[in-house]
Amino acid sequence: MTSRLVIASSPHIHSGLTTQKIMGWVLLSLLPAGLAGACFFGARALTVVAVCVVTCVLSEALWQKAMGQPITVSDLSAAVTGVLLAYNLPPTIPLWMAGLGSVFAIILCKQFFGGLGGNIVNPALAGRAMMLISWPVAMTTWTLNGVSGATPLALIKEGVSASVDALPPLWDLVIGRVGGCIGETSAVALLLGGGLLIWKGIISWRIPVVYIAVVAVLSLLLGRTGGVFYEVLAGGLLLGAFFMATDYTTSPMTARGQIIFAAGCGLLTALIRTFGGYPEGVSYSILIMNLTVPLIDGMTKPRILGEVKK
């Protein structure tokens, strides 16, 4: 009757939340932004997303098979990387570039570092950075309704500051009817998804709120043309703050660390936007802050119960 009792170390129950469920929630909360992308940029946007997801998942599976490791694509983390990379690409990007970017993200940035949890930078952002350096024109060609044009932040950078009228109206930024990457333009869709992640306890409010607040305050102090709301809604800030900077692996583990990390992201973003060569600084800010995570984690170790801080 009791011949097959399992012997194991306690505890013997589990919260039920698994990596797969977490990634599932992330995918679900990315859905609204993708739908907005498809709505404003057409079916082509969905094709890019599909190419990135399929390439990411396949690269991971093939790499793990070749390395004789257990295949872990069912944890959905490769799919999340695929979606995030696609959301950071212009809808007109040639598909082979999107595919190569995906391979780079998964194999060089994730698997080379030990797979899930081992990477030191966000794979999707690193993939995008590689693509931006390799194919600068394709990566900065923005089309909306078949007409190419500049993104709102590029307009500010180019110095149309004299006429704020040339900038698209704020409402277009809210719904996402502006030039930009597939998944970054619709503020309302991103807030919906980000809100879902916070509500479900998948991410904490700390990184997105602090990140966005720091950018808002600094844009005010630096006297940016579009104003605070414009600065927050334009570009990749919302996508970055809710979905990229909150990546567990490449962000600090403690509450204090997360606040420092997010403030750093905000500072760098504002500086790059104002003084840098690029109109947008979210990707590079997060990538740079990713590299400071071990340092921040070391500095913000929690005080052990009863321990007196020296």
């Binding site: 170390s9 505890p11 797979g115 949890g117």
Partner: protein, 449 residues
Amino acid sequence: MKLPSFEGGVHPPDGKALTAEKAVELYQPQGGELIFPLLQHLGAPCSPAVKRGDRVLRGQKLADSDAFVSAPIFSSVSGTVKDIGPRMTIPGSLEECVVVENDGLYETGPDLLETLGLSRPAAPEEYLKVIRAAGIVGMGGACFPTHVKLAPPEGRVIRWFIVNGAECEPFLNCDNRLMLESPDILAEGLQLCLSLFPQAEGIVAIETNKPESIQTMSLELERLGDPRMRVAPQEVKYPQGAEKMLIRSVTGQEIPPGALPADVGCIIVNVRTLYQIHQALTLGTPVLDRIISVTGDVVVSPGNFCVPLGISVRELVERAGGFSEDPVKVLAGGPMMGISMRSLDVPIVKGTSGILALSERSALLPVESNCLRCGRCVEACPMRLVPSNLDHLVRLRDYTAFEQAGGMNCIECGCCTYNCPASRFLTQTCRDGKAAVTAERRKKGAPKK
């Protein structure tokens, strides 16, 4: 109103409904073997005080030790000593045991107060002696000898005498039922203990998921009319009943690493321990029985049973109707800190609070995957350690770094593993790390910190 509490912790489903309403059933087997391991406490093992073939009475001492940190073992039945030798125990190891053949008569010998030649009830200056002689240990599971705990180092003023009725471990109701059914004994026991610590408040700490216990204990303390005693309701959060957490919640004090509760003016005892103290001081009864919750989704009639120590887990499970299907895990204790057993033919000891049988549906049978660095273990750790980092260091066998990172402070509560989406064996590796560091210290002969 938000109750003051500790940081961290988790909220596992409590499973208490299975046995919360079940009154304690007295079960005294009429025959068979009872097995008494010689080590049922933290400290020195006992040596047998009887030999094979001896007739023993209920309450007769079977084994004792001269060491200060130790506690004697008593026969819970009358009968004959059948054997003294190794038997399988709950952790699955063979331990030296006294085996008594039960004659079913429950013939009781002279009580402790009589044997020690003391008045009834004992005078306060004799309390520690009686408690030592009664074999009382921390019956919440830690099994630390109570007479040692009640003798704080010189110069420590005890301001809080905390009775631990938190019972934060899911599924268990033995403490809850004791508070509901014997509140008078607990209240009087607390009063007796307070006579040892004139400057202390007596506080009964109970989680708010046991409102009836809170009410019953409050009424009882009121009845005694001693202004030094009160009930302190606690937030329902695991591991509220862990010593350091409960002290933090009740008093706001944090025990420094390596220090004792007495260093921050606290003494904390489990409700069952308090019950035993009362029984020893007033009636001269040693530790003979205890209440055990037999529960879990595959137990036919879950319940709370008061049984003589030494009966087998198998007999207790059969008393609860047996299993409706094969369990995959049978635990001594609750699901968060209980020990999984390889066999049911092991004896109940002083620290056994429950028997929990889990089906494959409810037991954690994890497959580990990569750490995501999500920080859920850090959030959950009530000691505010970084479990994922400790896990990493133990796997690297870097025990020096493990120690530096505070690994020895781990209380093995299981919150990190419970919360881990990658099902990392965090509690287990911490346990391994602690064992390795302890072994290393012992080898070096370094004084234990």
